[in-house]
Amino acid sequence: MALLSRFLQAFALLFLVIAVSAEHTSNWAVLVSTSRFWFNYRHLANVLSLYRTVKRLGIPDSQIILMLPDDMACNPRNAFPGTVYSNADRAVDLYGDNIEVDYRGYEVTVENFIRLLTDRLDEDVPRSKRLGSDAGSNVLVYMTGHGGDQFLKFQDAEEIGAWDLADAFGQMWEKKRYHELLFMIDTCQANTMYTHFYSPNIVATGSSEIDQSSYSHHADNDVGVAVIDRWTYYVLEFLETQVTSVTSKLNLGDLFDSYDESKIHSQPGVRWDLFPGGEQEGRLRTVVDFFGNVQNVEVENANATEPGSLKEDLAEIARLVEKWQKRDEEYADVLSARNTTDDSPTASLHLKPKGRVGPTKMAEDGSWGKRLVGITVVGACTAIWIAGSVLGRKSV
């Protein structure tokens, strides 16, 4: 067992070592709507549209954390039960039959969101509700709801502040829970939400400047509510029409350049300064680095010799194995020496290797007696059953 745990530790160490490298090995997406109620239909549609896009680009449900505070599909006011649309043409049912909501209803709280990001969850929380990202993961965080200057409201009950979010990302970085992070937010005064971020490797973008509202794009006259927000609408338009496959070479620069203030009706913002290399480097990241799914395998440097490298660890393990074998041999020598002097039959048992201990056969004594008892019991039961059914028939 000790050997096994050592090996595991060695592998864990391996992953940590490759934290700061250009390539990432997995993609995670955290998609959060923070508002409930029928008239906030659009916020849930925003998130579901993003959910559909990242799934299309290959991120599996197991790596998407979807937080929906309300169930628009089953709202009695919904003229199209069981569906959610983000466009008045109602071409795509976002709710479909292939959707996994990880946090629903009143589970969508600030506490749960921060615990999710920083992995401070109870042991009994299932994997589907955990962000399993590591130092090789690119994480997409998308949030939408009603917000203000440096806060975002969660469900009419509480709000998350810009500092809370910055600290959560800071902890994620310290705990090596992301490689690069793309933060997107669509709410009023959205750009204030990422002003306090301080941990590296984050690109942040929002829909509107301070003191600006973020507007809805259009309403569906049959659903009776606005179905999508403007910024999200145009981001999605780019993603759906330009980023057609996971092999797309379009980069974040292209995405952010596609922002058109005359269409969005607010000033979207982008923050590059936390990214190593700043805007120049950040713009080169492809969109699918965050929205798609990569299957890169990190091959460790086999020639590395510094402490913590695989070679070093394997050498250490080999030394340990050698040490234990040596100790075992010495022990056996001591025992055999004692055996020759004492000639005790019990002592030799100690020398038997554990692997040789086979399953013991159960004792056979009294097996006939037990069989007899069994037959008697079965016979008695049968007799009672027969007697009962005969008597029962009589009484009826």
């Binding site: 109620f37 009695p76 006011r77 919904n78 309403a219 009776g224 509510v225």
Partner: protein, 612 residues
């Protein structure tokens, strides 16, 4: 220095402090209070209306109530007309036939149907009728909330509302086929606009009197009610939105705004209020609208079938079709459909917007914070006077402060140091007694038969002339019953009376601003009533003239004057008032007979005492 000496002067001159200054302050309160109200219609003091409740989303849905539904409407209307115009049947048979027809239509559409009989007695009249209603249960809702659509057979103006009832029946069939209702929808057909909804809503909340049957079928908490009135036989031009409730309670402003926004914005139908048909948004028209609203609010009667919902905190409005124009019953139907969809969107009871407001145009209003000071200032003028008189009675053994110059200093010293003892017993018992006396006309006017109302009004008018004078005679001469009153006691009587008046009116101002303002305005002369001094001929002439003027402002004279001006018989007004007391729970009479009338009587006594 100048200020200091002014203050010193004021302190050393009690006459100025206790006699002149309160009068000036009172007058200022009255003038500012009235001017305040007159300023409200200006752009600077009123606000544009806006929808406060996010959930309402007015006019965001397409209304599909058109086309084939019109054929259904015509069919239902023909069927109902055939029964109504059947010459071979008498009235009760027609009523029963119509009721059965309504039931069969509702049941064919798949609604649960029930009836309720009721009977009210008031002022010797019997009002009886039968409500029929049907419920659409929300197919995917939880049946904890409901919206009510009311179609009375007779409108508030007592016209046959055949189109309105037919529209309700057509809408019931149409709504039943939608599956997007989050609340139950109740269709209520009442025989008239006065009694039916009251009986129904009382029974819905188990608050009904014994003469009203309980409801066999109920739903959840009512979130809003719309009354449909379409008594015309031609296409209409505008929608008249009636919103005043019993006792001046108003529905949430959001409901009114939603109706205006849907009618005007989505359907292109103009919306009017307070019978202002040609509102040009000028100052005069705004003021007129506001004053009409205040009059209705002040009188506190039910202006339509929707009014009865208000005491139960259910927001309700009546939509009346007016004028001759383009719009047909389908347009009204679509408006109601859209309104129902908006109400359906509600997540909680309407609460975001104002419950206390004065509307002066369909898109302009003032809220309580802006208008309340005007009624409060009017009420405050009485309180200021009362407090000043109370203080004065404590300092002044006499009411005449003018002395010759030489004596002045020593006299003043004596007065300020010599604190007078107040003789409270008689003033207190007189004020309390007269207020209790108010219960007599209150009881009489609410309990006698309607044919005596006119006579009794004239009797009260006579009492108003005789009672103050005889009381004044007894009080000033004693007439062997008591010692003549000293000036201090006159002041105390006035002080207590005005104190009560000021208290009642300022409390009332928060509940029914308009009533408080109207009563306050009619009572303003009472602040300045006092026992006059001076030489006999001038005093007699002034007090006689004053009494005549005062009598012109007495409750019965005002009633008669208003009736004469509006050309409505006194009997009708008082029958309606008694009906309001018995059925609607209207409180206006209490304010008139137990607040205004006693205060007026005491004013008369004070003025009358200067004759003797």
């Amino acid at each position: 220095m100048a200020l200091k000496s002014a203050i010193r002067n004021l302190r050393s001159n009690p006459h100025l402090l206790f006699v002149r200054l309160p009068k000036l302050l009172s007058l200022l309160c009255i003038v500012v209070g009235v001017a305040w109200l007159l300023l409200l219609p200006l752009n600077e003091y009123s606000r544009r209306t806006y929808i406060s409740e996010n959930a309402l989303l007015p006019g965001q849905v397409h209304a599909y109530f058109t086309g084939s539904e019109q054929n259904i409407f015509r069919g239902y209307k023909k069927e109902l007309q055939a029964i109504l115009n059947d010459e071979t049947k008498d009235k009760s048979e027609v009523t029963a036939g119509v009721s059965d027809k309504v039931q069969s239509i509702f049941e064919e559409a798949g609604l649960k149907f029930a009836r309720q009989n009721y009977e009210y007695n008031s002022a010797g009249n019997t009002h009886e009728g039968e409500n029929s209603y049907a419920i659409i249960h929300a197919p995917r809702g939880d049946a904890t909330e409901a919206i009510v659509l009311v179609a009375p057979w007779l409108t508030a103006d007592d016209k046959l509302n055949l189109n309105g009832v037919t529209l309700a029946l057509t809408l019931a069939r149409y709504f039943k086929r939608w599956s997007l209702w989050s609340k139950d929808i109740i269709f209520l057909i009442t025989p008239d606009s006065k009694t039916g909804t009251q009986a129904w809503i009382d029974a819905y909340h188990d608050m009904h009197p014994a003469s009203v049957q309980p409801l066999p079928l109920k739903s959840g908490a009512l979130q809003g009610a719309l009354v449909i009135e379409y008594p015309l036989e031609h296409r209409f031009q505008t929608l008249h939105i009636v919103y005043d409730g019993v006792n001046g309670q108003l529905p949430n402003l959001d409901l009114f705004n939603t109706a205006v926004s849907i009618a005007g914005g989505q359907m292109g139908i103009g919306a009017n209020l307070q019978e202002m048909w040609n509102h040009d948004d000028s100052y005069e028209h705004r003021l007129q609208t506001m004053v009409r609203g205040m009059t209705k609010q002040g009188l506190g009667y039910a202006t339509g079938a929707h009014s009865s919902f208000m005491p139960y905190h259910i927001d309700a409005i009546t939509l009346q079709t007016k004028g001759e124009g383009w719009e047909d019953e389908m347009a009204l139907g679509r408006t109601i459909e859209s309104l129902c969809r908006s109400l359906n969107n509600l997540l909680e009871h309407l609460h975001q917007s104002f419950f206390f407001y004065l509307l002066m145009q369909s898109n302009r209003f003032v809220s309580i914070g802006t208008y309340l000071p005007s009624a409060m200032l009017l009420a405050g003028n009485f309180t200021i006077m009362a407090i000043a008189l109370w203080m004065r009675t404590g300092y002044y053994p006499e009411s005449k402060p003018v002395q010759s110059k030489g004596e002045k200093a020593s006299a003043e010293k004596a007065k300020t140091s010599n604190i007078a003892e107040r003789k409270l017993a008689l003033p207190l018992s007189l004020v309390v007694g007269l207020h209790l006396l108010g219960l007599v006309p209150l009881w009489v006017f609410n309990n006698i038969s309607h044919q005596y109302f006119t006579t009794i009004t004239y009797v009260v008018l006579g009492v108003d002339i005789i009672l103050p004078l005889s009381l004044a005679a007894i009080l000033s001469n004693g007439l062997g019953l008591s010692k003549p009153l000293i000036p201090q006691q006159y002041h105390l009587i006035k002080s207590f009376s005005l104190l009560l008046l000021g208290l009642s009116l300022s409390t009332l101002a928060t509940l029914n601003f308009s009533l408080s303002f109207i009563i306050g305005l009619l009572c303003t002369p009472l602040s300045f009533m006092a026992r006059l001094q001076g030489p006999a001929p001038a005093r007699l002439a002034t007090s006689g003239l004053g009494l005549i003027l005062l009598n012109l402002l007495s409750p019965p004279t005002v009633l008669l004057g208003v009736c004469w001006y509006t050309n409505v018989s006194v009997e009708t007004v008082l029958t309606e008032a008694a009906f309001g007391w018995d059925v609607w729970g209207m409180w206006t009479q209490v304010v008139v007979w137990c607040v205004w009338w006693p205060a007026w009587l005491i004013g008369g006594v004070l003025l009358g005492s200067s004759i003797f």
